[in-house]
């Protein structure tokens, strides 16, 4: 049983208008953290622990990242080795 429910998250492309309306606040924070220069994997791990209370390698973490990737909201950039928030 995960501590969060991804089913209410819309399956549409991300815009800033959508980002600002999303809940819980930890979701907004995660997507915001993927802006700017992007999020190095170790920072994502820290965020998962501190903000979502989940261990980076846990099934919960996998489910969360999968939910974001599947919507195209958070993508892994091979070139910069960072997670980046993706719009459109």
């Amino acid at each position: 049983m995960t501590s969060f429910d991804t089913t209410p998250w819309p399956r549409t492309v991300l815009s800033m208008g959508l980002l600002v309306s999303l809940d819980p606040p930890a979701l907004r924070r995660l997507l915001k953290a993927g802006l700017r220069r992007g999020l190095p994997p170790e920072d994502l791990d820290d965020l998962l622990r501190s903000d979502w209370q989940i261990e980076p390698d846990s099934p919960d973490a996998t489910a969360l990242i999968h939910a974001l990737q599947e919507r195209g909201w958070l993508l892994w950039h091979q070139e910069t080795q960072r997670w980046k928030t993706h719009f459109g």
Binding site: S15, M16, P25, K32, L35, R36, G88
Partner: protein, 254 residues
């Protein structure tokens, strides 16, 4: 690390572009490297303060966001001599003033992700201390993005009832985006207004630090955005107020 300062207001004509350009000047006068990005793509204007007119061969931000121009080609040094003498640099990323280009931008749009990447790319390429983002008024995709990525949001308002209400809305959004720092700037304070009263009202209304209260000024009206008040009328209370704000940002954010 480059700091992003987003100069925003809910309503138009509050003085964002004048503040952006003069704040950049004040920061560069301390020897810093600063860029001003005109994200007001629908009604650009901050280039005028630097007396920079993008020529037919000058690339603008539009050429990067909707084309293939590298961001470096869209970045123009506009450092005035007085600032050069202090060792500072000001770079401008202007938006296109070509009506066809503006129409195309509105028609086709662009991804704000490209704007995010452009800001951080130029920050690195030019080794910037600060990027000042001059915005379109109100809430739209660009202003939400630039608010979200800012290290400090500088909210500009006039002591006007519509501005009081609108500023509350913009700050509510900033709060949802958990902007780490914000400063309020009251601009165009009429001479007969009690500055202390305005100060108190603003601080009580919003609970964020007041960056400056700047007077409505005949000198600024005369200058008509044709130059930088900081260099043209440096002793004027408006210029002194902007300098003090710059120092506050240096102490607290930069």
């Amino acid at each position: 690390m480059t700091k992003i300062l987003c100069v925003h207001s809910f309503r138009g004509g509050t003085g964002k572009s004048n503040l952006s350009a003069n704040l950049a000047t004040a920061l560069a006068m301390t020897g810093r490297r600063v860029a001003v990005v005109d994200t007001d793509l629908a009604s650009p204007g901050v280039h005028v303060l630097f007396q920079f007119t993008p020529g037919p061969d000058d690339a603008t931000l539009n050429d990067h966001l909707q084309g293939s121009a590298p961001i470096e080609a869209c970045c123009h040094e506009v450092t005035p001599d007085e600032v050069k003498r202090k060792g500072g640099h000001i770079f401008l990323l202007p938006a296109s003033m070509d009506s066809d280009r503006i129409a195309r931008l509105l028609r086709e749009g662009y991804s704000v992700e490209a704007l995010n990447d452009a800001i951080f790319e130029i920050a690195e390429l030019k080794d910037l201390d600060a990027v000042i983002v001059d915005t379109h008024p109100g809430i739209n995709e660009e202003t939400l993005l630039t608010t979200a990525i800012s290290d400090c949001l500088v909210m500009v308002m006039r002591p006007d009832s519509q501005d009081y209400l609108g500023t509350a809305v913009a700050l509510e959004v900033a709060q949802r985006l958990e902007v780490p720092n914000a400063r309020l700037v009251v601009n165009k304070l009429p001479r007969h207004f009690d500055a202390e009263q305005v100060r108190n009202r603003v601080q009580q209304s919003y609970g964020i630090p007041l960056g400056a209260v700047l007077p409505l000024s005949d000198e600024l009206l005369d200058l008509a955005s044709g130059g930088l008040a900081l260099l043209e009328v440096g002793d004027h209370p408006w210029s002194k107020g902007v300098e003090a704000l710059a120092q506050q940002l240096i102490d607290d954010i930069l």
